[in-house]
Symmetry: C5
Subunit: 316 residues, 5 copies
């Protein structure tokens, strides 16, 4: 669907202009939103708006990283919002010209919807222009990254303390997934950060220079996010190493205890074997208290070994 808001020189909002009417002189600036456009509607980018074929290709394809391209008298932005439910990137593209902004997205965007309503409800229309629209949308996009990072941080917290009493396999798999999400997040946050940095320092984007404080604020958030993502990736490393080493240590300890038990019984069983031999001439067998003596000897050997191993610390 293509929606249009135009602001006239008299600061009146018009929401039912046609694409052709937008070029009229009484239009101060306008915003066209391509929301889940049909193939027919996409063609308007070329036929009515005359954008460069490479930029249009970038709109259509899903392959893009966040970036900024200059084309003659307009700029083209690719940004990524994050779908909170599935931590999946969704591309939003912008064309920003002298007196217009065109937003383009294959999937519905809460950020654009909210900004649209904000503009419709605004009482200070004189303050708005296409760059303020861009700021509001990007601010909301970046604000939308935080809940996802918080969610991952919380997951890591739970994994660190294993509050849900899960098995090793489950913990490792979740940790692996969390690392994977953080890697994907990184590939959104870092290029977004670089994009906003370029916007702030570009000599061609005068409108952004005038609103420098606003876009700086977004840049701050992206710096913070990049730091959080990297710190959390390091944390996953630490958590995994700490898991594995504790687990292997525990496993070793158990094997040690079991083997100590086995080792204590070996000589005892051997002694029992000796007196189970059927030699004709075995004096001990005929002693009256031979059995009890041997039992006592076994007891001593068993306890002795136990104490010896315990003393060496092999039992804990």
């Amino acid at each position: 669907m293509i929606s249009i808001i135009a602001v006239s020189n008299e600061l009146e909002l018009m929401t039912n202009c046609s694409l052709d009417e937008l070029q009229e002189d009484y239009i101060k600036w306008y915003w066209i939103d391509f929301n889940e456009p049909t193939e027919e509607e996409i063609k308007e980018l070329d036929h009515s708006l005359f954008f460069h074929p490479l930029a249009i290709e970038d709109c259509i394809h899903k392959l893009q990283r966040p970036k900024l391209d200059y084309y003659g008298n307009y700029s083209f932005f690719v940004t990524h919002r994050l779908n909170e439910a599935e931590i999946e990137k969704e591309e939003i593209n912008f064309f920003v010209g002298e007196n217009y902004i065109v937003s383009f997205h294959h999937l519905p965007s809460k950020e654009i919807h909210d900004t649209w309503q904000l503009l419709l409800a605004s009482k200070k229309l004189s303050k708005w222009d296409q760059y303020l629209v861009l700021y509001h949308i990007m601010d909301k996009i970046v604000d939308g990254y935080f809940p996802i990072v918080y969610q991952l941080e919380e997951a890591l917290d739970q994994l660190e303390n294993n509050t849900k009493d899960q098995t090793m396999e489950q913990l490792l798999e979740q940790l692996f997934d969390t690392r994977h999400y953080l890697l994907k997040l990184r590939h959104t946050v870092i290029p977004m950060r670089d994009l906003v940095y370029r916007m702030l320092n570009s000599h061609r984007l005068r409108g952004i220079k005038r609103k420098k404080e606003y876009f700086s604020d977004i840049h701050d958030h992206l710096l913070k996010l990049a730091e959080m993502v990297d710190a959390n990736r390091e944390l996953t490393n630490d958590i995994r190493d700490s898991y594995l080493s504790l687990n292997s240590h525990q496993s070793n300890r158990i094997m040690k205890v079991l083997t100590v038990i086995t080792t204590i019984f070996m000589p005892l069983t051997f002694i029992a074997g000796i007196y189970g031999m059927n030699f004709k001439n075995m004096p001990e067998l005929t002693w009256n208290f031979g059995y009890f003596l041997i039992l006592f000897m076994m007891f001593c050997i068993g306890v002795g070994m136990f104490l010896w191993f315990k003393g060496k610390g092999w039992f804990s």
Copy 2:
């Protein structure tokens, strides 16, 4: 084979010029393609086209990385296409001068063939020049990298989930191979990216400056590729670590269970050994229910140890 396309000032395509005829005034620009050249044909680079011996050496030898050299009034490019079947680099070299492009390749190149056909079939000959030829070939070369990365990503996906139920050895070997391919890919993608970056920012390549959007588009793709390759290399690390730790954990678990079983039978066997001793005077042996008592005792000890180990969690 040496093939030639020349475009005359009247925008007529000529495909049967000789090398000598190309210098005539009525030629606007031309493209010479050295496809699997013979030794004789290679000598034309020197004798007819007068290129620098070092550039010709770079054409002949296989040692080169993607790069850009300036020689007086022409530039020399080394690029790498990838052979999809074997993930093997194949060098394609270009000489780009004031009104010509010379392409040189020891192996047939789909990219050059397709661009050649595109030019032959073009209806807007006025739009073409040597830089547009270069753009189309490089665009196709870089587009040719993606299927290979996708193929490796898919292989990693299968390895991650072990959909083919392979043994540890097979998985590790395939992972090792995948890492190796990614490393090789990296050594193609990174220098290509740097090459295109230099092309975009060079003060000597006016023709590229005029088509900046086109070469920027290639640069975008190379940035994306570099990111994908690096992310996938990180992923192989994660997959391997996760394999190894899960495998070693599983192996530990099995050993633990086996050792617990052994440990439970040790004292039982020992007790049986005791009553197998042949002492004359062993009161228990003569008790009427001695045997059943001992059997019951063994049963209790066995079950007791089993429960104790189970309670300690050593059995899972």
Copy 3:
């Protein structure tokens, strides 16, 4: 609470001005401190002092990294003090204008309190201005980082030598915590270092340029801190690796000794088993000294194996 110190042109200290009075001509410069401000007081940032809404938002929110923003005729700083007891960041914000400094903090700050007292007690009022206030507070904030790093270094020292005779699990958990603290510290020290670097090199902060030596001294300390934090993080790596390898080596050694003992008794028990068989015709059983011969043989085998394993070094 809002506290105010104003210095008049005659270098008199005034501590009971109202916010409105500060704009008078006879005020040379002033310092307003927002210490644990109420919601009402926070509104003064906007109503009386007219700061930019984004800067005020940064004051209120806890999300910030240390940074420096320029707003028209004042600059806005975010800094982090560290709460020594819990190694927790606490934000302190500054607005520095032509003839004033405004400090803002949600939690009480020893650094600000001490500087306040210093200024009240100062006898050379002519030397003071808003930048000297800023210097003194930041100097104290950064000096406050050192005890924490020293504390962590001491903890690492104790862990390295395990002076408290702790178990592996305890050691690893403490090491993990120390790494975590160092990571958090890093995220305070690095942005603070970059902030002071920007202050030193900014063309807009003339007052800091004039006191360059002072802020350079803070920068030195931050460089030193960053180096210490990184070196200590590397040290935690080394300590953990050295723990784990020693522990695993020790564990292996114990298992080896236990298994050697088991292995020595295996053939002995087997021999005893042989002569425990009940075959009718077993000549050895009837020999007069068969039993003692076999005992001696067992002794030889046992000692032989022991010496053989010892010779191979499998016993230590």
Copy 4:
């Protein structure tokens, strides 16, 4: 030995000038080679050629990295050739002045010998100057690195596939040695690359600027070498990890099989032990087919456990 070639203004080669004669006006340019110089000959650097004491010190000492120093009207280069037999660095130093080059080396250098012969046999003397001498020697030095890298790559190939059927210990030691050689190679290739980069971009070396294509060609080779060395170092990491994990996995598998065997025999031996007990009243012992029943029971238990373990996959 000190050898001299001088070229006169009439382009005649003179090979028996004395050091003093070289300053004459009819000499266009000259090359002095210090090949395995005696202490006496080394003094000529100071007495006859008046080079700076620090540069002479750098000639004599073995401590140097490849580098470039400017001294008034001459430049001083330190380069490293590699002794192919032992992968050992050998320093070659150059002084390059307005009309001369001085080469200095403690050990004989094939590169210098070959260039010397090339110059003696040259028919286009007008093309030669001191920079062409420098180019030819450095080109040969850098070409001499390749066989060593190829040799190491081949060694890695053999190690990867263990074509020689070596034990783990031998493989690991060879891998360790290969890593060590690669590290040493890296410390030659990286500073040489940086040296040639500086030569290419230096404003003081006009002679090199004029031969830019030639020295760029060397730079290409060094870039390629640096990439190969780094990739091979990464490969050694991968090979080692893959060794160790496969080996440990195999070792685990063997232990598992052995332990499974042991575990199967434990209960069987225990049962045999039970019926080896000497209780008076053991009804089973008197059953006619008790023995065969028990044998059959043991067989069932053994096979059952075997199948059970096999079913669990603990046997492969």
Copy 5:
């Protein structure tokens, strides 16, 4: 102790001037050395020499990294000498002004002592100035780093080949210590390198510019040192990994052999157990050669298993 050397305009050495006399016109330049100064003497830095309080603070405190600060008409340097016996940093500070150098150190310095003697014994006083003093001291300081690196390299060599036949624990602890020393060394060498680099490129240090070759020589040495330290740190990594993997492999091999022995005896002992059972009706027991048949069978099983395991390579 405060020692003074002054050089008069007539190039006469004076060693017994007072601090006050140094300002006289007939003094060309002078050197004041604060060697293990008392608290009283330290005060002269402020009272007689009027240095900046922050620089004096840096002299007194031990916290400093090597660095360079500019104060009006003098520069302040912090450098680190290394105490060879304990590999401990010792700070030496310099103030370098228009016609003086002041050196300050809490501990005696061989480097300063030697330079002092060199100056006293010099016959070419005209060549000396404060920068030559600085060069000589810094050259000696940096030369003093080499023996320590060589010492560590030798220690690594011995560890690599375990020439002293030490246990694993001892080797690992020494390796850990060596890593620690290298890390400490790195924190001296890297800032010293950066300091000398800044000295070489500073626009404010004209005296150093004039002696550029000399300070470049020191910079060379520091570059070399940084490379050696980093290479040696990588080497410690390699050595440790190679230790651990060889050790663990050896340990696995031993366990395998022991377990194979145990596994061979398990079925034999079981068979002996069978014929130790007391069933009434066990036909084999009454066979005339049953015993010898069973013995032979046991021998066959034992040898068979041994050969089978040996064939599988589980015995080496």
